[in-house]
Subunit: 396 residues, 4 copies
């Protein structure tokens, strides 16, 4: 009744009050020097979270989808070939965008529940001896299936094929929650948004371009104005924007990066992993399976949970919302009706996670699934609780 | 880390965002007509929640303790006798206040875990044929023991003794969460605060005086200025205050009463009962007992849970705060170390309650108690869940 | 020191606290039915403010610039001709965008300080007997020069030339502050943002498409994905978005339209006119002139004030910010250094306007201009004050 | 319409957004260690602002009036004599409170518009050779008349009379805005509230007791519970409260002291003096006079302005509120109808002050007073503006 339950959608996430207060700013003149005091540290903070020193960060008043468009329109030209794998709704949407922008997409069809097929990337790139493929697109964390792909492996595939293509990575639901190493993996463009790991309201597309990506901008012919990083870069040089910036959200981004870095990135990742592991323990206790096909693919930010054959997984989400005022995510695309999704990224505690697990149990029992009340909660509690951790430590 | 877990203390409660925003007002001139547009409906709303038409409401920038002082200083004189029972920390504190203000208190010692002993009240009042006892004090809901007393029974005791004493009721942790019938029970002064059933920050003492209580004000000699209801009444007549009011909190009180009345008082009480019943089911599943001695005494706003002999109940509260960032209440006074308390009043959902139960389980297991993880959660889920309710309804 | 002074930039405007609180929402699942309860009335409210029944409204997480891009990419194809006049920085930027997107722009060069030259539009359209020109672009209110153009006159020009071109109007700094009649003027696409007349933070591009504009979408070949109104329309049909919406801002937009409509659109326009008139009275009292060349061109949302020959108008803005913590707008483009701008749109009162005028006076005197302290204030006071209005009324 | 104009009442003041956000806290368990992290620095900060090392600070969920009651009930006994001067509504109210609490008050009648008459204090104290007078009460800044009294002079008077009476000072509208030297002046009890110089919402009574005052507590017999500093001190020793604290306001108080100390107390005082001087310049320009009888009495936090004989000063306040939505203060008590008051304390800028002056001018002209529009504004502008300061500096 009062919007007090946590949400368990895979973004926008629960928001820390302190970030909401930072984003809820009174009007500040974005042409005054004060704006630079927000913009500069926000950009610098994003770089640290991306683990990059080489890249340049550009933030648009938009969303992750706008970030995808920024990536392709600033570096490619009509008719250019790009290589992408389709293994979930979000990789599919980026492919669709490329096609609508007049690019030719070499699509690798892959299982929904599997990750980016590095070997197939290598094969195709190796075959492209004319180097017609200009960019390789990878979705780091498929929000639709709860699958994390191995970006380092894709990089190795490109290198093994000795191919000069750019590497574009959609990190919308991974960055700031799971490890992302832009420089080490030689990612050329990274894309994310404000409403996931950064724990802010939606409204910012956050992109980073490597020097190699910036070089490609020179020859790119796809039309762009709103998403033009050249305009953005020229304005940044004066601590300004080419149009009206979302000052409050940028102020929130500044503080978000400060909070994340103060906590320590590895601690942030470990926290996501711990909470996710508890939820996965609950899924096992329920006798259900994840959409993600193997343990190395498990996402630490979202779990897509398969329901039994013949059961409409979407009814779980509808019932939870209506009866318990709790938001889960539905299955999308090929897995619509087959999975429901639990988002566990951003600002979440073990305690909040337990309430999501407990709710899912009630819902599934209400809807006639053969689930034992408390079973998933107990499994997660066992994972989360302090004593167990200590005992494990003592045993180690 | 970000203050996101619900609190499970018996007040201040979790606050709905909409009430926080109402209380967080910019400065409004409290001498302007706008102030009356806040004050009037706030006072009228409180009357409806107290189920009184006859009483006059006075709200002070203070707390429930200030409300107690308002009650006694406006109606009594030094040396006056009052009758009170001691069955918990809060009944004890009101007695102590009376003594410090020069009143003679006839104290009925009663069990901590029992309620107000109506029969004993009647006995003593009947014996007071000279009618020296000016007021009878009762704590409606003992926050320290999780015990709800039967105010109607106390009223019947006074009437049976044909005694003219005033009836003062501390409803700090009951009003707006549990049924309170000021007119029907002929309560002369009711006292509460903003931070419990009204779901606001602490900072308001809310009192209501019956016409009989107002008559007693005429002859009362205890000194009072800040808490003088005469000054307050005269100022209210001009939609003003005798000093600077807490405008934002009053605005919050106005909206709080609107929300509660829109939900329907009986629905509000049923909601508290439902959530409390789920928690009590968890306690039974754990094999533990409530401090409250019998079912009719169970409070719907706070449960004091006895831990096994020899176990320090306070360690539960400390461990929960430190390890899981969740606040429970410690035992106070006679039951210190013997109970821990779960507050379940104000703005709470079944889902939030489950996270409190789950946390308590982890804590108790961490500390070596023989509790089965998930057991209390399952019992509460079974109580809360929709399917069960439907089935029960179908069976009825 | 505490960001308490009003801003006098031509947007983002001062924001009413109630709108900030509406926009500062906790996370709501944008795939739940609750989202439709925000989206539907927001879209309906915008239609009323545009005075349209025929048009369809599409709102993007972007800014006015994104709205321009939405207009052209959804209705035009590479190589299409459009007709536009350049008479300020914002008309120039839209022209530039068209060119960057591969459109051929017939540019009418007009004076900065003048309005859209309807007669020239008619001439050119009449000459275009092949109807190659697909769209006519007009900036309703040139924020750079404080000039309001006559859209009805442009419509008449198109009609007089019997030309089928679409009419696109940039109403970023006019809509919701000055009269805008989409249906009456047969505007085909209107563009605005959240941060001007709607008094919200920046972050929404608000567009409306006439049925004729929607028909043009069918054949438009410019690439678009993020700004695709087809995707948007299909999602709206399910009360959803094609990607993550800015839920808080949409909730603010809903309330903003409610507030504006409750005040009454004509009252809103009259309020802007009254405040602007006071500021123009001050300018006259100072012996200065507006950039706008004639009275019929005066904008009610922003005044660009010419400073004496040889004086750097930009120094006013810098000095005001540094010394008095007050934000004015600098001159842009051709009038850079020649004007400074006072924004007087959105949430502003006569009283706040007077503080802006008083500050401008101090700044100009500090910088050596021959201005009499209090002179502009007195002129504006005379305009604003109640007695004068009454006397005028009495005389009428 | 949207509560955007500054208020010009002598408290509650305009509040910096950052303090409102600090006070608007989610629920924190006040029995957890986190509470001490708020309480300790808040108390320490208050001490620095009072310029005391010796005193102990006690903060109650109440208002300044509660602070007065705290002062007298903790140190005095029924029938005790106190000495006080009456020269305004607030000194009168404190006297009235003493009488209602059974104290005998030696009242010095003094002019409303004059300050505390140190010579008369000395005379009376010297005559009290039996040392029956237990306390001397002084109102540092009479909010009703805009008069600042010389506390050091009163201290010298007490010392000259070699009298052991305690010195109680009401600093409600001076502390944190004007210099207050608790240790140097040997003030025994200082009283203030949250809603003036601390720029917070009303709701805290802030008191400080010298060691000598604490010694008097031992023998004081006036009844007290809510305002008992002994309970408070015992609780503070455990970083706790004797009842539910106003946690959010205390968090605001912590930050308020940090902001004030970061700005530098002498800078805070100079800022108040500068803004007040500008307003006084306006009053002179209008040809009006202050209620304060001489320049050394001028308050830097509130100006009471005398209107011409036969004019109802209260109509200014009513008209300003109704017509311009601006709040000024009415005259109280003896000066009701003769003065209107402009509060200029707390969070205010020169720019905001100018809007108050401009509004007062419009109001006075509307009501027929012979005031020249812009005259007061010009005088204040001349005082505030940067150039003048520089020139003065250059000349010095």
């Amino acid at each position: 009744m009062y919007m007090q339950n946590p949400v368990f959608i895979p973004g926008p996430t629960n928001m820390p009050e302190i970030l909401r207060k930072a984003a809820d700013m009174p009007t500040l003149d974005h042409r005054s020097p004060l704006f630079g005091q927000i913009l500069r540290p926000a950009l610098a903070g994003v770089k640290k979270i991306l683990k990059t020193e080489a890249a340049s960060v550009y933030v648009f008043p938009s969303t992750g989808t706008g970030g995808w468009e920024t990536a392709i329109t600033n570096t490619l030209s009509p008719g250019d070939r790009v290589l992408a794998a389709r293994y979930g709704m979000f990789s599919q949407r980026w492919i669709d965008m490329c096609q609508r922008h007049g690019l030719k997409v070499d699509i690798i069809e892959a299982a929904w529940g599997g990750g980016a097929p590095a070997a197939r990337y290598e094969e195709i790139l190796a075959a492209d001896t004319a180097h017609e493929i200009k960019a390789v697109l990878v979705t780091h964390n498929e929000t639709a299936t709860g699958v994390k792909s191995d970006i380092a492996a894709v990089r190795r595939a490109i290198d093994a094929a000795r191919h000069p293509a750019l590497l574009f990575v959609d990190g919308v639901s991974s960055i700031a929650s799971m490890d992302f190493r832009m420089d080490e993996w030689l990612v050329d463009i990274a894309v994310t948004g404000s409403q996931k790991g950064f724990m802010l309201p939606a409204g910012l597309a956050i992109t980073a371009f490597s020097p190699k990506a910036l070089a490609a901008v020179e020859t790119a012919k796809l039309p762009r104005t709103f998403f033009d990083i050249g305009d953005m870069a020229r304005s940044y040089a004066n601590n300004a924007y080419p149009y009206t910036p979302a000052v409050g959200l940028l102020n929130g981004l500044k503080l978000s990066t400060e909070l994340l870095l103060a906590e320590g990135l590895e601690n942030v990742f470990a926290r996501h992993r711990r909470i996710a592991s508890g939820i996965r323990a609950a899924v096992r206790a329920w006798g259900l399976e994840l959409c993600a096909m193997s343990e190395d693919l498990y996402s630490d930010t979202v779990s897509a949970i398969r329901t039994p054959e013949g059961f409409d997984a979407t009814s779980i989400v509808a019932h939870a919302a209506k009866t318990y005022d709790v938001a889960f995510g539905v299955g999308l695309g090929e897995v619509a009706g087959k999975v429901f999704r639990v988002g566990h990224l951003g600002s979440l505690t073990d305690v909040m996670a337990l309430s999501g697990i407990a709710t899912a149990e009630m819902v599934m029992v209400d809807l006639g699934l053969d689930i034992k009340l408390g079973s998933g909660v107990a499994a997660a509690q066992d994972y989360y609780r302090d004593g167990r951790t200590s005992k494990v430590r003592a045993a180690a």
